[in-house]
């Protein structure tokens, strides 16, 4: 079993290497990248905005309710919301949500192409199917940090609205907390890990779809396995990057 895991890891890195070989015709590649931008980035914005707004609001309310001591300044609500959203919620949890949405989409679409021999058809034509299928996804996912930036903004907006209009603190206190002890490096850290998670989101589900075996039932199985592994790798990498950059 351990050998199989090691073999899969090796196969994953070979896949990434092969993705950058024998590039597809530029005109076709442009079309594919725009298509993937639409599927993976634009179509994810709705769910990201919705979740970010309400999670931001809940963070604000939870913080307010848990700090009822009059000696604790109310601006802490703004501070805690900012830290939770920028450091963890937006980059990590949105990535895990995306592992479910984007990851399953990637695995099932590539897996279906494998099952219906469309990948074999590309190879027979002399086209590097990995470059044709995976490379545009990698390029499109380079825009994932923009999604995270939107998530950060909307999350903080949700925290502001819930905190201020919920009567927990006033607008000035919120902004004071928002600016308190602000370390720009933490934003860089958040975007750096968003970018690393984006690469995981583009390649791990592609790997599970591309090398799947069997029929349509296995496509569903591969999508589930892909979600589990993408989430596990994101959570592990989150720990690793945090240890490396913040501790």
């Amino acid at each position: 079993m351990l050998l199989n895991y090691i073999k899969s890891v090796g196969q994953y890195f070979i896949m990434i290497y092969d993705t950058f070989k024998r590039m597809t015709k530029t005109s076709e590649l442009k079309r594919l990248i725009l298509q993937e931008l639409d599927d993976l980035i634009i179509n994810s914005l709705g769910i990201v905005v919705f979740i970010s707004f309400f999670i931001g609001a809940v963070i604000s309310i939870q913080t307010a309710l848990n700090f009822s001591n009059p000696f604790v300044p109310k601006s802490l609500i703004g501070f805690a919301s900012r830290q939770s959203i920028i450091l963890e919620f937006a980059p990590t949890f949105v990535s895990i949500i995306m592992a479910g949405k984007v990851g399953s989409f990637i695995t099932s679409s590539i897996g279906t192409m494998r099952v219906s021999e469309q990948i074999d058809a590309l190879e027979v034509m002399g086209i590097n199917s990995l470059n044709y299928l995976v490379f545009p996804k990698i390029v499109a996912m380079c825009f994932f940090p923009f999604v995270i930036a939107i998530s950060m903004f909307v999350g903080i907006l949700g925290a502001y609205i819930a905190g201020v209009y919920g009567g927990f603190l006033n607008s000035d206190e919120f902004f004071e907390g928002l600016k308190e002890d602000f370390i720009p490096f933490q934003v860089f850290y958040a975007f750096l890990k968003s970018f690393i998670f984006a690469m995981i989101l583009a390649t791990v589900p592609s790997f599970h779809g591309y090398y799947m075996k069997g029929g349509s039932l296995e496509v569903g199985h591969a999508a589930t396995t892909s979600f589990v592994w993408t989430s596990v790798i994101i959570i592990f990498m989150n720990y690793f990057i945090t240890q490396l950059l913040l501790s």
């Binding site: 005109s27 076709e28 469309q118 058809a121 190879e123 034509m125 086209i127």
Partner: protein, 254 residues
């Protein structure tokens, strides 16, 4: 022409092809037949370059594949067309886009030239007014014809078909068989068809190779398959009651 000498292919401990020798002639419909698990698909995928054989030689027009440079291999793949069992059409593309795809990816033709060529091949496979339909909006027989059109659009020298008439009604299956044979003769292509269908064997089998346990157990044509003394081949070909009765009638001179 394709010549295969002593081809071996294994998957872990399972040896699928065990020293296979065969020759597929230009301008003829060459059929590979055999029971499930006899190695037909693996053999076809070796010919297509999708599987790398463990040993043996595959020659395309007299030159061994192993001796091809990277560019020559790429050039060879441009000369190959493939009709997959399920069609393998790209779901998100229309019929026209599917057929145009090899031209777009592999040639420097202008869009006007590509459109003209697509019209020409769609007309050749008798598909009219389907250009803007998606594969899911046309019948199985039409999908096979689109697949054939896509396979021949780049004027290949080698055409490979994996069970081209599986899942089709007998009449449509016969139309597809005849279409492949006509195209083979018209464009002087080396066509290799992997099939289970005995109607195809008797209709278009100009050169038949019967596989058994990864080796060629019989070679011949549709005319001399009736006279074979190979018991396993006879059991395979005349497995259905209808064909058994036909054979009995032939033997009785009816």
């Amino acid at each position: 022409m394709i010549k295969v000498t002593d081809l071996h292919k294994s998957f872990d401990d399972l040896e699928v092809l065990r020293g296979l020798n065969a020759e597929f002639e230009k301008g003829k419909t060459n059929l590979i037949i055999g029971q499930s698990g006899s190695g037909k698909t693996v053999f076809l995928k070796c010919l297509l370059g999708l599987f790398i054989p463990n040993s043996g030689i595959i020659e395309y027009n007299g030159k061994a594949y192993q001796n091809f440079s990277k560019d020559e291999k790429r050039e060879l793949s441009k000369q190959m067309g493939m009709v997959f069992q399920g069609g393998a059409l790209f779901d998100s593309m229309t019929v026209e886009e599917n057929v145009m795809f090899p031209l777009k990816m592999l040639t420097k033709m202008t869009s006007v030239e590509m459109k003209a060529r697509v019209e020409e091949v769609l007309d050749r496979v008798n598909l009219i007014n389907t250009n803007h339909k998606l594969p899911s909006e046309i019948s199985g027989g039409m999908q096979k014809r689109v697949s054939i059109a896509r396979a021949i659009v780049n004027k290949p020298n080698f055409l490979f078909c994996d069970e081209p008439n599986s899942g089709l009604d007998p009449r449509t299956a016969s139309v597809i068989d005849n279409l492949i044979q006509e195209i083979t003769h018209e464009f002087e292509i080396t066509t290799v068809i992997n099939t289970h269908d005995m109607n195809s064997v008797f209709e278009i089998g100009e050169n038949i190779v019967y596989l058994e346990n990864g080796v060629v157990a019989w070679k011949g044509t549709k005319d001399n398959i009736h006279k074979t003394t190979n018991q396993k081949l006879t059991d395979f070909v005349y497995a259905s009651n209808l064909f058994k009765k036909v054979r009995l009638a032939q033997q009785q001179g009816l």
